[in-house]
């Protein structure tokens, strides 16, 4: 046997799976069962609504061309305040394993269907995103703080962290959502 064959044989002899492919397939297959889908509004309905809004604005502009009265000088909103609360644009550069804070939005659910909150981490590839991690979250903590701390992946690359789902607060169903893009820097010495 030459070296290639010996390496192949040594690895083969020491990695013979004692499990059952059928059992494993059953487990995978059960996870792939389609979940009940939320009822969605048809696409044309959204498009039609948007078109009506545009038409309303156009007609308003045509029939009422006077510019709106300028606000009084003392009522003007200082722009600096607005920029201060805007989130930083672009992805955040973090170190592998670093803890990242994700701010969450919460509003009354319009669907009325509870969906357990979960965290998804998508890795941005060359042409597509790959879901690299998904886990359930406990609702109570999210409602209280509106903040989630997430440990960044170890592997360098661009990721998108997404939190979505519903939580119950004082008998009301809230929809929570948060999203953040991060870039995990290569670890030193790698």
């Amino acid at each position: 046997m030459n070296l290639d064959e010996r390496i192949r044989e040594a690895l083969r002899a020491n990695s013979q799976w004692p499990g059952s492919p059928d059992e494993l397939w059953q487990r995978i297959s059960s996870q792939l069962q389609p979940k009940p889908k939320r009822s969605r509004q048809p696409l044309w309905l959204g498009t039609a609504a948007a078109a009506v809004l545009v038409l309303v604005f156009v007609f308003q502009a045509v029939w009422n061309p006077q510019p709106p009265p300028l606000p009084e000088a003392e009522e003007a909103v200082p722009m600096r305040m607005l920029t201060a609360v805007l989130p930083p644009s672009g992805p955040q550069l973090v170190q592998p394993g670093e803890v990242v804070e994700l701010t969450l939005d919460a509003h009354l659910s319009s669907q009325g269907t509870p969906a357990p909150p979960r965290l998804e981490i998508w890795q941005e590839g060359d042409a597509e995103e790959v879901l690299v991690m998904e886990r359930g979250l406990s609702g109570g903590e999210l409602v209280e703080t509106r903040l989630l701390t997430v440990q960044a992946p170890e592997e360098p690359g661009s990721y998108r962290l997404v939190v979505r789902g519903t939580v119950e607060e004082q008998g009301q169903l809230l929809e929570i959502y948060g999203e953040k893009s991060i870039v995990v820097a290569a670890a030193e010495g790698s």
Binding site: N14, S15, Q16, W17, P18, P21, L24, Q31, E128, E154
Partner: protein, 195 residues
């Protein structure tokens, strides 16, 4: 001839993926059975624990099948899927190393070296070689596993590990040289070190 066979396999794989994207359960199962052997062996060789390897492979298949709608058919499936398997296995192993999972680490492979036809000497030699492979650092061991277990080409290994092909070539060369060195030393009287 080999190239023609590869093209035929690629075309069959594309057709299979098209069917899987359309939601054909049988196509998903066919993909699973095609890639299971190398996936589970790779995961085991990374985690050294069968239960953990099974979990990693299960997660990898579920993730791959869920991501199929965004998968571009003209790309080869195996390097993409192998990358998912490796990532899952590494992640599960690091959880194991940190003691987050209640599994026994470094379990013995119950089927290791069960080859009744091979001579005892030959089996011993393979076990020594396996020990030597495990002594390689991950940087050199992983390309070796992808070449000899997943049967990927150097270009596919480069794609899987997101490394330049020249780097992969050099790491494979170094790994083989080190293994040759181990074997020479072992055959030249230093056997005890690898037992």
């Amino acid at each position: 001839m080999k190239e023609e066979r590869r093209i035929a396999v690629d075309l069959a794989e594309r057709e299979l993926i098209k069917r899987a994207k359309r939601g054909e359960h049988a196509a998903l199962e066919e993909i699973f059975r095609l890639h299971l052997d190398s996936a589970i062996r790779l995961a085991y060789l990374v985690t050294r624990n069968w239960a953990t390897a099974e979990d990693a492979v299960q997660e990898a298949f579920v993730q791959a099948f869920r991501s199929l709608p965004s998968f571009q058919e003209h790309r080869p499936f195996k390097p993409w899927f192998t990358r998912i398997v490796i990532n899952k296995a590494k992640r599960t192993k690091s959880k194991l190393d940190r003691g987050h999972l209640p599994y026994e680490f470094e379990e013995e492979n119950p089927h290791a070296s069960l080859n009744p036809e091979g001579s005892a000497l030959e089996r011993e030699g393979l076990d020594e070689l396996f020990t030597a492979i495990n002594k390689l650092d991950d940087k050199h061991r992983l390309p070796l596993l992808l070449k000899y277990v997943a049967e990927l080409t150097e270009a596919e290994i480069a794609q899987t590990l997101r490394l330049p092909q020249t780097t992969v070539k050099s790491r494979l060369y170094t790994a083989r040289q080190r293994l040759k060195g181990y074997l020479t030393e072992s055959e030249g009287g230093g056997r005890d070190e690898f037992r």
